[in-house]
């Protein structure tokens, strides 16, 4: 029944969202690319000139640049590691018969709904504060010196906060996948004498592979752009110790008023994100077709 008429109608129905997203993707990106070749400072907007690759060179030779790339990778990698391993463990636990499963699920999923500034401030003040935080209270209880988390381990502290926000997401998805595992298969494996470890390696992990890929893909999209958590806790410091690429670009743009430099950084961020996206989309595309 796909007549010429319905085809035209279908195209018309799709047009608004496709056009909007096309504009949304092309216009700002083209502007960023253009600015990245300009010497353009917001404090001196009348003096804009073409500088070729100077901005890239500037960004590339800035020692903060490599540190920020490293920090970005540490945040993404660290959070993925904690949430995937922790998520599998908690999902396995919740897959057991337990009393009050509904309430347990609600408690565990909750951090996902907490907006990033709240999550970061609560952890910064109430949990990790070196004098009054809960961690400090625990340290003192055991007669240890409280740790000044954000001064001594700034990047690690941010990884902890972000991991707390994303652990529920990983858990929930992996639990959903676990629950779709065929009970008969599990029983059959048990009957055949497979112990827990064997069942885990040969039955559960292959079954979870697709969901783990999905968790990694979606989290990576969001984790590459971690911003509010850094803004309200360490503000990127001390020095550049907890500055990721997103935060470095923000600093260059709105604190340094350097439009050209920030745009060059933006283009670098796009390239990096595309490298990650390429591998992830391929992995997911393969998995989704199954």
């Amino acid at each position: 029944m796909a007549t010429q008429n319905t085809k035209t109608l279908a195209r018309l129905m799709m047009a608004p969202s496709v056009l909007l997203l096309l504009i949304w993707m092309i216009v700002p990106l083209a502007m960023t690319l253009w600015f990245s070749f300009q010497n353009y400072n917001l404090l001196d907007p009348s003096n804009v000139s073409f500088t070729g690759l100077f901005n890239y060179q500037f960004f590339y030779t800035d020692p903060a640049f490599f540190q920020s790339i490293w920090n970005t990778l540490v945040i993404v990698g660290g959070v993925l590691l904690i949430t995937v391993i922790g998520g599998i463990a908690i999902a396995l636990l919740l897959d057991q018969p337990i009393f009050g499963q509904g309430i347990v699920r609600i408690l565990i999923i909750s951090p996902f709904f907490v907006m990033p500034p709240v999550a970061a401030l609560v952890w910064k003040n109430m949990i990790m504060n070196p004098s009054y935080g809960v961690f400090a209270d625990i340290s003192r209880f055991f007669g240890l010196r409280p740790v000044d988390w954000f001064a001594q381990y700034p990047l690690f502290s941010i990884v902890v906060i972000v991991a707390w926000q994303w652990l529920p997401f990983a858990t929930l998805i992996l639990l959903t996948a676990l629950q779709s595992l065929d009970g008969e298969q599990k029983e059959a494996a048990e009957m055949d004498g497979a112990n827990f470890l064997n069942r885990f390696i040969y039955l559960v992990v292959p079954h979870l592979a697709r969901s783990i890929t999905v968790v990694i893909l979606i989290q990576t999209i969001f984790l590459l752009g971690v911003y509010a958590e850094i803004l309200v806790t360490t503000n990127g410091g001390p020095g550049y110790a907890s500055t990721n690429l997103a935060f470095l670009i923000y600093r260059t743009a709105l604190l340094g008023y350097d439009v050209g430099g920030a745009s060059a950084g933006g283009i670098i961020a796009v390239v990096l994100a595309n490298i990650v996206a390429f591998f992830l989309m391929r992995a997911v595309g393969k998995n989704l077709d199954r």
Partner: protein, 274 residues
């Protein structure tokens, strides 16, 4: 004997699960408890027994005008979600019911626009907003949030619509239903649950969006994300008030989230995990 073992197993699992759940939930619980402590109590060391004052909630409203950012959050998240739905429903519909060879590519391309790091376009968006007078305006932020969440809305709707069986359409056409009747009597009732969960999830996502809302607003259009972030600057004795503001900022979305946790998995994995 076997029964005994399973009961013991269940009790062990229950204890372990509750301990894990309480540890994960603890920061939220402690925020709620601290919000009904007095300021000296809040920094007096670990205590789960507050004196139960509601003064902080009143102070946050009287001194910081809490209601204003709250209303901004409601307007921005609901407004942008409805706008995104209006744009996305026809296209998801077309993709689900008249798919072409390129439908899948278009969907993947839409998803790929989410991969563009927000910060990469911070400069042009900031300058465009400045030049068009959209900085710190609700309209500007609503449009921004609509564009950010549009790909997810299209995807979610598409996965829901795709499950509406095509045979039903054919049957209704056989019975002589026109396009309009088809939409009103056959498709809409089947599409409503999917649209409702898309709505819910995107309100949550828009409510918590914390990059553009903080950067593109100052006072007038500032939603709760920017409001809470403004608490980060002054160090000192304000934890009870911060907790009260935080509790109010997360409570509505927490409750919405509890109701939508089943759809959450499906929605956020683009239908890949159900």
């Amino acid at each position: 004997m076997a029964r005994n073992v399973t009961t013991r197993h269940k009790i062990t699992a229950t204890v372990a699960a509750w301990i894990v759940a309480l540890i994960i939930f603890f920061p939220i619980l402690y925020t709620i408890i601290t919000s009904i402590k007095t300021e000296p109590e809040a920094i007096a060391g670990f205590s789960l027994w507050p004196s139960g004052t509601f003064e902080n909630y009143i102070t946050v409203q009287t001194q910081r005008d809490y209601l204003k950012p709250f209303m901004n959050s409601v307007i921005l998240s609901v407004g942008s979600t409805i706008l995104a739905l209006i744009i996305a429903i026809p296209s998801a519909w077309a993709m689900a019911f008249s798919p072409t060879k390129r439908t899948k590519d278009i969907l993947m391309w839409m998803l790929s626009t989410k991969m563009m790091p927000a910060v990469a376009v911070l400069v042009p968006i900031y300058l465009l907003f400045r030049d068009f007078g959209l900085l710190d305006s609700r309209i500007g932020l609503t449009v921004m949030l609509t564009l950010i969440n549009l790909p997810i809305v299209v995807w979610m709707l598409y996965t829901y619509f795709r499950e509406i069986p095509g045979e039903i359409l054919e049957a209704s056409r056989m019975d002589g239903a026109g396009l309009w009747q088809e939409i009103v009597y056959v498709l809409t009732p089947m599409a409503v649950p999917g649209i409702a969960s898309t709505l819910l999830l995107n309100i949550i996502l828009a409510w918590n969006e914390s990059f553009w809302t903080i950067r593109l607003s100052t006072t007038n259009a500032a939603p709760l994300t920017a409001f809470i972030a403004s608490f980060s600057s002054p160090q000192g004795l304000f934890w009870a008030k911060l907790s009260a503001a935080s509790t109010m900022a997360i409570a509505p979305i927490l409750i919405l989230g509890w109701f939508s946790q089943k759809q959450l998995v499906r929605g956020l994995t683009f239908g890949a995990v159900k």
